[in-house]
């Protein structure tokens, strides 16, 4: 026997749930949210998966990023770069890391095979932290976490004070020598908001990098995060990093 109270409770739950289902149905009918006519910031939450086991250190991402975003060609300005780790046998705490020109020209062979060492590439970029230290220190509000989860820079408002460059634990920011304001990876915001992938993901030949929308239930990123052993860089800093690494060795800093 259903009491009136139970009946009212159940029917209001039903009403709320069917409203949510109707809202979700709109997305389903429109296909992926990217294909929807207007880009709705609240419908997205961008993240990137980086599969170290697939990275071949070709440098395509570095070159594509510099081309796409007009990053200065000097060998010390990068929105994304690739590091080569050489972990000597029996010394996992002290890897040798190099990144000649950020990996722009690839990695000339430096280490000999069969010396018992472990060698691998680690692509790096802005981690698009949900709780970004760089955003917290900006004195004017020129850098921010967008409603769709991308850390962006307001270049017309940035003073070039460099606080954020120091605050970023991942070294992802630099002062653009042309504009004298800060620059960093934007997850190719001009591309992902138009239904395209980022320049680095577009040109990665092994799909070692893939941008994903955590708010899109159909996005393969969910499957990847579920079926792999994932870690973020410097998890102890609680930055809410959204660059999810598969196969991240403990020696990577």
């Amino acid at each position: 026997m259903t009491t009136r109270r139970e009946f009212v409770g159940k029917s209001s739950t039903f009403l709320v749930l069917s409203a949510a289902a109707a809202a979700a149905l709109d997305n389903v009918l429109e296909g992926t949210p990217e294909k929807a006519p207007g880009y709705k910031k609240a419908d997205h939450w961008w993240a990137m998966i980086i599969d170290i086991e697939k990275c071949i250190g070709c440098g395509n991402c570095v070159r594509a990023c510099k081309t796409e975003n007009g990053v200065s060609m000097e060998p010390y300005y990068f929105r994304t770069w690739v590091e080569r780790y050489h972990v000597p046998a029996g010394n996992p705490e002290h890897p040798q890391v190099d990144s000649p020109n950020g990996g722009y020209d690839g990695f000339p062979e430096k280490y000999k095979p069969g010396d018992g060492s472990k060698n691998f590439f680690v692509p790096k970029l802005c981690n698009h932290c949900a709780h970004s230290p760089c955003v917290q220190v900006c004195p004017v509000g020129a850098t921010f976490e967008s409603p769709d989860g991308v850390v962006l820079v307001d270049k017309s408002y940035c003073l070039g004070c460099r606080y954020c460059v120091q605050a970023c634990p991942y070294g992802c920011r630099y002062i653009d020598p042309k504009t004298h304001v800060v620059d960093k990876c934007s997850f190719c915001y001009h591309r992902i908001t138009k239904g395209l992938t980022t320049a680095c993901c577009e040109t990665c030949p092994t799909e070692a990098r893939q941008i994903g929308d955590l708010k899109n239930p159909a996005d393969p990123i969910h499957e990847f995060l579920r079926t792999h052993k994932i870690n973020v860089l410097k998890p102890q800093m609680a930055t809410g990093s959204k660059a999810y690494y598969n196969g991240l060795d403990g020696s990577v800093r």
């Binding site: 990275c55 250190g57 395509n60 690839g106 691998f120 307001d154 408002y157 001009h190 092994t206």
Partner: protein
């Protein structure tokens, strides 16, 4: 009563100063706080659109497939299925917008293939790698088709046939 008012003049003066101060503050705020600041958070809402307005440099593989049907189709069925067109052919949004504006250059196979396939200890062991010293001379594309690379290249040496034809 009048006596009391006399002692309150300084209060009115103070209130007047507060009003003037507030007006100065409101005026300065209107001038210095940019439009749209605080709509989504402690930043200018227009900055989102500024970041979106950046021009495309890479067209994306879907744009390539719009005109070039055959190669992308062949690619899809091959071991290079995951490789985007612009990974080898370079950034070509200008070409995709107006093919007359920019004719893409054919990549130099000998350097391009090695960008990925040059042997390196840091590469994943499952990835196909070659050392130029261990591999016969010649341009890669004489035996391997980059749009549908076979597991084992054609055994017949293609360059010899070419020379014979000459």
């Amino acid at each position: 009563m009048r006596h009391l008012m006399k002692n309150k003049v300084h209060l009115f003066r103070m209130a007047g100063l507060f009003v003037v101060g507030f007006l100065v503050f409101a005026g300065a705020r209107a001038v210095f706080v940019p439009e749209g600041f605080g709509v989504y958070g402690h930043y200018r809402a227009g900055a989102l659109e500024d970041n979106r307005a950046f021009p495309l440099v890479h067209a994306g593989r879907a744009a390539c497939a719009g005109c070039h049907g055959d190669e992308p189709e062949a690619l899809k069925a091959s071991r290079h299925a995951k490789v985007g067109c612009e990974a080898c052919h370079g950034a070509l949004a200008v070409h995709a917008d107006d093919p007359a504006k920019l004719t893409p250059k054919k990549p130099d196979a000998k350097t391009l293939c090695l960008v990925c396939h040059m042997a390196n200890v840091a590469k994943p062991s499952g990835f196909k790698q070659i050392s130029p010293e261990d591999h016969p001379e010649g341009v890669c594309t004489e035996c391997h088709d980059p749009h549908s690379p076979a597991d084992a290249p054609k055994p017949a040496p293609a360059p010899v046939q070419k020379e014979a034809a000459k």
